[in-house]
Amino acid sequence: MEFMTTASRTKKGVLLIGVLFSCAVMLGWADNWEDIQRESAKIKSVSAHFSQEKHMQILTRPLVSKGLFYFQVPDSVRWEYISPIRSILLMRKGDIRRYTVGSKGLVEDKGGSLEYMQIVLQEISRWSTGQFTANEHFSATLKGGRGAKIILTPRETGLSSIISRIVITLSPDRPGVIKSVKIIESEGNYTLFEFTDVQINGKISESLFREVI
């Protein structure tokens, strides 16, 4: 039962980052917050491939995971790992579920809790409208210019014990597209997400957000 509690607690951070990714991909190229808000308003859907590189002291080479990401306004997200472990996080209409492939096939992860759903939805609405500066969880700093970066620093002590800061790098050439997200936990310990094949405002089947297959 202790692990259930652990999963609940850690899921808060995990889901928060999942939401962060979903909204981060929507960000537009910009020199100021007003530009970001303006570009964000144009985004209705996003689909992309992502690679996740986990860098740690214990690893000589980063541990690489790959997957697919889908977002549909106002609040539908599919964050799917293809390798090395297949795992799918679905968020839709206030419902959030997570599935992982195990010995019994693709099963719902019962270790999570829905108590953070409200937080997740709040984050979606804020980020999707570019409201970084009003975010209760992170303070945001924008470094504009070509390949602009947004640096997020946790406001809460609890969150800052897990995440030191987050750096979102925007595509230098393609407004509305994010190049990478780096989550820095501690010195030498960070996760780098890079997005490729990003499709903006393409048609995404609604079933992708409610079915795992």
Binding site: A7, T10, P84, I85, V107, K149
Partner: protein, 237 residues
């Protein structure tokens, strides 16, 4: 009162049945000629790496009641010193637990309740059970009815440690109390070049759980890897 007594009775019955199941009979060992004992002992060391190694596993955790969770485990072991560095993280890459065993356990990072008292010690015991060759004195070695090799060691606190290596190189560890109750069982299968692709550990003590480890990567490393050096600083700003 009856409504209360009935569940209690069933609880006791189920507890007794569970006790019977968990109180396993030790495998019957067929003695072998003394001349082949060294070969059997050597085969009993086959499951354990003899140079420093790094393992990355997908770990499926099953809890009492059937709840499951999935994490990624990274373990570096130096069989000479028996130093271990173990990290548990979420699939998304968040580190939940980071600890080393160097004669004693040092926890470098743990998210509650992974920082709970004794958690690190118990986790390291499980890791050592899976990856470290047995320490106890060999009490008997031989073969089983199916031809598998078995070595039985006397462990600390009267525990009995059975290591069975099958003809297909899959292996099994049974850890028993002094009253022959099963404490842990480890089954390793799909073994290639001494490295199992699947390992299942089942714990039968006060808090039942099972861990299914699916190998992602295994690679030899230099012994110094466990002696941590400051990592690369992220170039982000």
């Amino acid at each position: 009162m009856m409504h209360f007594m009935l569940p209690v009775r069933w609880f006791l019955i189920f507890s007794f049945i569970f006790l019977l199941i968990s109180c396993s009979r030790l495998p019957v060992i067929k003695p072998v000629d003394q001349a082949v004992l060294p070969d059997i002992e050597q085969r009993c060391h086959q499951p354990f790496v003899d140079v420093p190694y790094r393992f990355i596993h997908a770990i499926e955790i099953t809890l009492p009641g059937g709840g499951t969770g999935a994490v990624v485990g990274v373990t570096v072991i130096d069989p000479a010193s028996e130093n271990i560095h173990s990290v548990i993280m979420t699939i998304e890459g968040f580190v939940l637990f980071d600890a080393r065993y160097e004669r004693e356990v040092h926890v470098d990072w743990a998210v509650p309740p992974f920082d709970a008292k004794h958690f690190a010690e118990r986790l390291m015991e499980d890791v050592r059970l899976i990856l470290v060759a047995p320490h106890g004195s060999l009490s008997i070695a031989g073969i089983l009815e199916d031809g598998s090799t078995i070595c039985r060691y006397d462990g600390s606190q009267g525990r009995i440690y059975d290591l069975i290596v099958r003809q297909d190189n899959s292996w099994e560890i049974g850890l028993y109390s002094d009253s022959y109750e099963t404490i842990r069982r480890v089954n390793a299968s799909s073994v290639k070049d001494r490295i199992p692709k699947l390992i299942k550990l089942t714990a039968y003590d006060y808090w039942d759980y099972s861990l299914l480890l699916s190998l992602i990567t295994a690679e030899p490393v230099s012994a110094g890897v466990i002696q941590l050096q400051p990592g690369e600083s992220p170039d982000d700003e």
